[in-house]
């Protein structure tokens, strides 16, 4: 069964304090791994797609990496506006067609 586990559940950082969020996944065949940001009361906002182990993508202070079992979202020198819940999702090319499985997210708070 496809599974997505995110850790930690919650993370508090001082402004400028870099850290990483983890997304561990179990799929039969990975079609893609997706990172989203969700602000309170809003729908998720697309950040990155990763397709194969070793792939990396960057956007401003965020960098996503992928291995065969997990993905990391690295946040460098975060600012208060980076506070949000970060969700990852996977698509399994073998088992579940075009469904996306989401983790429960990491709630990030960046303190000024």
């Amino acid at each position: 069964e496809d599974q997505v586990t995110q850790s930690p559940e919650a993370l508090r950082l001082q402004e400028g304090e870099s850290s990483s969020l983890n997304c561990s996944y179990t799929v039969s065949g990975l079609r893609g791994l997706f990172w989203y940001r969700q602000d309170p009361g809003k729908g998720p906002e697309f950040l990155f797609t990763l397709y194969s182990a070793g792939e990396e993508k960057e956007k401003e202070r965020l960098k996503a990496t992928l291995t065969k079992k997990e993905s990391f979202l690295h946040i460098t020198a975060p600012k208060p506006e980076d506070s949000a819940t970060y969700l990852c999702a996977v698509q399994d090319i073998v088992n579940t067609g075009n469904q996306f499985y989401f983790g429960t997210g990491t709630s990030l708070t960046v303190i000024p």
């Binding site: 079609r31 729908g43 998720p44 906002e45 697309f46 969700l87 989401f102």
Partner: protein, 113 residues
């Protein structure tokens, strides 16, 4: 351009009533997904459309839930005989294809009293 829109933004209904939730996807996006999100959880897949047809409805919890997309654009999620356990945020997402990134609407918060 315009993003995904969902109406209403909030819906309060009594147990046993029927509700319809509407999703207007990004123009040209052929794939449309419905999700349900409870507090502190990630979005849970309900159904997706490729064009007009429901390609996979395996996430619908029971036969009280039904969704349509008659012209391949706007979609409506219909819930009959609502129960308190149906209370959640219902999210809609669209994408150019079923393998690409999804763009989400703001959601409809459904409260069943």
């Amino acid at each position: 351009g315009a993003g995904v829109s969902q109406t209403p933004s909030n819906k309060v209904t009594e147990k046993g009533k029927y509700v319809e939730l509407r999703c207007d996807p990004i123009s040209g996006h052929t794939a449309l997904y419905w999700y349900r999100q409870s507090l502190g959880q990630g979005p849970e897949f309900l159904i997706y459309f490729q064009g007009t047809g429901a390609a996979d409805d395996s996430g619908l919890p029971n036969d009280r839930f039904f969704a349509v997309r008659p012209e391949g654009s706007v979609s409506t999620l219909k819930i009959q005989r609502t129960e308190r356990g149906d209370s959640a945020v219902y999210l809609c997402a669209s994408s150019l294809s079923t393998t690409g990134e999804q763009y989400f609407g703001p959601g409809t918060r459904l409260t069943v009293t």
